[in-house]
């Protein structure tokens, strides 16, 4: 009983973490059809910036804002001057986003040196809480809550606001949206910046669990890809559900089948994609 309880809690926490990691990627890919392979680097850069701000000012909230802001500035520049001209050119996008990932990760190594640094948990969220017979870290529960908050906020934005409607219009039919006077280019830059902000904030929020170290970007990128593709590219609900599914599969998989630890994510993914190529919730992108 103990085992199932604690691993279920771990799965939820991991799912929340994965959603914070992949929400930005899902947004950018789903709405702009850009596979942003620099996503892991954005995540790591946000975490490093947040760490520096946290050490300087001591405020976790400020660190999150700083991390998000730093990545927004970076992402905005990249989108405006580089990615915008590459719409539809998948190979060029792959090349440039990977190239940018190299630049960012090497720059981080240069600036912060290679020592791994833990991000301290904010004072209010330290310690454990008793759930049944197990003691579970409060911060991990907070991560789940944050994931729900972010998911809820994004859903509200997309479904209930005018901007969200304009974005969805731009995605569904760019020409018509332009014809209606919607400035699609500006919206897309805004969407990219939002995705970048989520990546940066995600890095800071995940920092207390993952720590910040060189190689964080290459460790996290495949996970983000798995979550988004399995859940269904283009669907925020898919990314949300996908995160928790992956959280459960990963946690229980490596506990029950330790010999398959390295493949525990990828075997189900191959099966799901082979049977349902658009993922669990994906729309067929034309």
């Amino acid at each position: 009983m103990n085992f199932w309880l604690i691993q279920s809690l771990n799965s939820m926490a991991l799912g929340g973490l994965f959603f914070l990691l992949s929400a930005g990627f899902s947004l950018i890919f789903g709405l702009m059809r850009i596979a942003n392979l620099s996503h892991g680097a954005y995540f790591m850069f946000g975490a490093y910036v947040g760490l520096t701000v946290l050490r300087a000012k001591g405020s976790f909230v400020l660190a999150i804002v700083a991390g998000a802001a730093a990545v927004v500035v970076l992402g905005g520049i990249i989108e405006r001057f580089i990615l915008r001209r590459l719409s539809g050119r998948v190979l060029a996008q792959v090349l440039v986003t990977l190239g940018i990932a190299f630049i960012i990760s090497d720059a981080c190594l240069l600036i912060w040196t290679g020592d791994p640094i833990p991000l301290p948990i904010p004072q209010a969220l330290r310690g454990t809480v008793r759930i049944g017979v197990v003691a579970f870290p409060i911060y991990r529960i907070a991560v789940v809550g944050l994931a729900l908050l972010v998911a809820g906020g994004l859903w509200m934005l997309m479904e209930k606001t005018r901007i969200g409607a304009m974005i969805r219009a731009g995605v569904d039919d760019m020409q018509m949206a332009r014809g209606l006077g919607i400035s699609v280019s500006k919206l897309f830059t805004a969407v990219f910046c939002l995705g970048a902000a989520l990546a940066g904030a995600g890095g800071v929020l995940g920092g207390p669990i993952l720590s910040v170290y060189p190689g964080l970007d290459t460790d996290m990128l495949p996970l983000a890809l798995v979550v988004v593709i399995l859940g269904g590219a283009g669907s925020l609900v898919g990314a949300f559900v996908g995160s928790f599914v992956i959280g459960f599969v990963y946690t229980f998989g490596q506990a029950l089948l330790p010999d398959l630890t390295y493949m525990i994510l990828f075997i189900p993914m191959v099966i799901v994609l082979a049977l349902r190529p658009r993922g669990l919730f994906g729309r067929i992108l034309t």
Binding site: Q7, A13, L109, I121, P137, S211, P214, D219, Q254, T261
Partner: protein, 416 residues
Amino acid sequence: MKSQTRSYSWLVACLLLVALLMPTMASAQSEPIRLGFLTIKSGALAAGGRQMEEGLNLFLKERNFTLVGRKVELITADTAGQPAMTKNKTQELVERNKVHVIIGPLAAFEALAIDAYILQSQTPIISPSAAAEDMTQRKVNPYFVRAVGTSAQPHHPLGEYTAKDLKYKRVATIADDFAFGHEITSGFQRTFEENGGKIVQKLWSPLNVADYGSYIGQIKTDVDAVFAAFAGANGLRFLKQYNEYGLKDRIPVLGAMTTTDEGILKNMGDEAMGVISAGWYTAMIKSPANERFVKAVNKEYGADPGYYTMGAYNAGLFLEQALKAVNGKIEDKKAFMAALKRTHLKEGPMGEIILDEYGNPILNIYIRKVERVDGKLVNSVLKVYPKVSQFWTYNPKEFLAAPVYTRDYPPARNLE
């Protein structure tokens, strides 16, 4: 028209390639001792690589880049932690830079990747870190000498200490799932069980695992201690999360040498307090040589020396002693290699070191405990096991006849 432009683009491409491949001027046969240094400067292992570089640079700086009257030219190569690049860089050092001796590499698989080439090119190599056990056991390379111990070397005494001194009976192990982690755990398990202990659980976590939560959730709660063998960032991450789950106060943690290495200890907090580990070095060794060394490292780099810094510095000490024995004539490879294999450091930061006949050091192993001294986390010395060899107290021939330590050898017979 089309075929013309196609062939022109081919020609331009050719010219570009030639320009790129144009060799630099080969250095003429000159006086300095050319020391090649293989380290990692990019990627996840870059922190260790940097610390190695710091150790070696300090060694050379202290001697004004002069050994036995000859100038030393240091040529550093970044292997990026990839076996293919390690081989290329080694070839570059040997063929292009014409180095006399190499210090490096960092990782075990890098050393294995260049094993054949070192043999073929007959290049003396002193490893400051690569712990691949078989290179000084079953697959000895006559040009390879290690300046530090093997993976299991410090953990044999730790197993005995845990059973006899700490009197623990039931221990769970968790380790990085790669050769280093396997060898460390096997060494600990063997002596711990021989002295009456039982390893009741063995967990293996991938090197790049996202989160240790699910592993911590699996650790049996009725054990006396958890032996956590991690390298690099993972020790820091595991201990932090272990503490967050509230386990630190309930089940004590034993560490491998790298779990609480000074290189990452400086970034840890209370979660590392009280962790008992074993290693061939700690910054708290009380000897004049070490106190000088620690002071120098702190002055240059602002932190205590750890595994990597010490390893590279020690490799330098080996080089110096061997050079003295051949009067600086490093060109006489045979004599130099023979001298290197006879290395006997009477005093150094690590204490007395003698190389065994396989090219591996016999050295002191310190049982250490993490404590706070003057507000800083350090590895205090609890006990010293002198003159520990890679074979512990076992007969070398029998040891070598048995298989190399892996995840499943020695077999764990007490798992529950």
